[in-house]
Structure formats: C-alpha cells, structure tokens
Amino acid sequence: MDRNELVKDKVAAAFPSAILDVVDFRGTRTLIINQKQIKQVARFLRDDADLRYNFISDICADDLLPELTKGDVEERFAVNYHFLSMSHKHRLRLRVPVEDPDNGPETLTELWPVAEWLEMEVWDLLGIRFKGNDDLRRLFLPEDWQGHPLRKDYPLGYESVQFSFNFEAIDAKKPYAQD
C-alpha cells in the first residue's frame, strides 16, 4: 500500500484522537493534528521502524485572520511541520491549528535540536510561543523591534508612491540624515 496510507493508518492506530483531518494535494499528504498531541505524534513518526521521519525540513506557520473573520476556520493560526524520511524518501506535513498564540504547541527541541531555531523564527515573525522553548528571541528582526510583522493585522509599512502633488508632503516627513 502506498506510504501516504501507511502513515495515516499507523498514526490513527497509535493516537486515535490526534488526527482531525487529512488533506491530499498533488501526492503530498497533510495530517491535521490536535495541538495537545503533536509532540507524541512527532516522536512516533521519528522512532517507528516503518516510518522513520528523521529529518525535520521546516516549521512555519500561517495567520488565517481573513478566513477566521469569514468563518471558514475556527482557529486563527496554524503551525506546519514538514518531515522527510530519508530512508524511505517520503515527505509528510503535519498541520496544527493554534487558537491562542501565547499557548502554542509543545516544542520539538528534545526530538530535533534544530527545532529550537525554527520555532524562534516562527516566534520572531508571527508571535506564536512554543511551550518549553525558553530561548524565543529576535532572529531576523532587530532586537528591539516591537510587533510581529507577518501577522495579517500588522501594517505593511510602506512609503506612499511619490508623485509631483505629494512630493512636498513626503519630503517633509522623511527623516533625512544630518551629517
């Protein structure tokens, strides 16, 4: 049987209440996992002899504020974990809906040390805290930056396009350097 089905069956057998949904897109399977059980599922995926998802490619997240306001989803954020099994050459994605960014999923640092840094990136840009990860600090942005830019309610921060009618106004507000 193909590997997508195998992984879904094994995870469903080991953690009956963990899988909330299954999505397939172009041959890649995404399992929507309950936030409380993500670490146990990840450990199972890594350690099980048939599955062996030993490489974590990426931890990224989405802010679904437009879908939340329209009523398409229940939770505002979703954290995506991308796994790769090197021995079986198979990729898998786990998606964890997160309601409250201050109570995010548990950290996977104990399983993969690099997860500490991937979660640091998610915190830096979206503000999702991971339980157990104490070292959440600014990675890409300057240390004293306020706010999380990739959230949908963060302003774009652009300067208006300069035409001849608004050049004076833009020029007056621009902080030119003194020598």
Partner: protein, 160 residues
C-alpha cells in the same frame, strides 16, 4: 607670463591650491567595500578588468573604513543593518563622500515595506545617486565621474 618667465627652466609650476587639492582627492579615491546585495556584483564588475576602475584612481577597494574615502552603498539596507552602516560612515575620516548605488539605496527600490530603509539618505548624507536595478558598470562610472566633477568644483571655504 608672471613667475614662470622669471624662473625660466627651473621646473616650477604654479597652480591654485584648490585645484591641486581637489585633483589629488579625485584621482586617488579609494572606495570602501559596501556591497550589500545584487548591486555589489555590478560594483565588482566596475572594478574588474572589463570596466577598469583603477584607471580612475580606484586601484584598491578597502574594506576598512579608516582607509577609505568613498562609500558606495550598493544594495538594499535593512533596518537591522542601518545602525551598522551609520557606524561605519562615522568611522571614515574626512573628507568622505557617499554614492547611493542602485534603486534600493536611493529610494528603497522595489522593496516598499517595513524591513528596508527607504533610501539610504535617511541614514547618511548622499552626494550622488546612481539609478538602475542594478546600474550597469558604465552607469556607476558615470556616477563616479559626476562625483569627481562635483569635487573639482569645491572651493576653499567648503573644506571641513
């Protein structure tokens, strides 16, 4: 005329101090390596053998700000890099000039957002802006020539 006639063939030339000092400044201007992004490739191309930068006196590009007098800001400056840029500019000894190379250094370029400084003249005072994304090496040379003309026109009273 004047003093040359009296001195004959003694090998003395008279000239204005302003012109002499300005000539010295323009013909031995060492750029500081400040290539941040894609414009850096074109800056390297300007310095390399095809569009030789050495024929304008820019024989070396010094990475140390203490030994350079021209800062070519080549590439986009992020908000995180801005204090570093200012510190390096402050470390350059007088006289110093700044060329904002490319669209990102002049006005933010295509990156009109929270992370990129919209024009490096928010941080350092710029003498010449070179447009282009990236500007061709010839365009950068044109900018340098414009800077040279600007310096040649400097008067005694302008010097710090």
């Amino acid at each position: 005329m004047g003093i040359e006639q009296k001195l004959g063939n003694m090998g003395v030339v008279t000239h204005r101090l302003e012109d002499l000092v300005n000539w010295g400044r323009t013909n031995a201007m060492w750029p500081m390596l400040f290539g941040l992004a894609c414009c850096a490739i074109e800056m390297m191309d300007m310095q390399a053998s095809t569009h030789d930068g050495s024929r304008f006196g820019m024989e070396l590009m010094r990475p140390s700000p203490r030994q350079a007098d021209l800062m070519i800001v080549a590439g986009r400056v992020s908000r995180k890099m801005a204090p570093v840029l200012r510190r390096l500019y402050d470390q350059m000894p007088d006289p110093k000039w700044v060329i904002a190379m490319g669209d990102c250094a002049s006005c933010g370029g295509v990156f009109n957002n929270y992370a990129i400084v919209q024009g490096v003249d928010e941080i350092v005072p710029v003498d010449v802006y070179v447009a282009g994304c990236p500007p061709r090496p010839e365009a950068l040379i044109d900018g340098i020539m414009t800077l040279h003309e600007k310096i040649r026109g400097e008067k005694l009273t302008d010097w710090q």
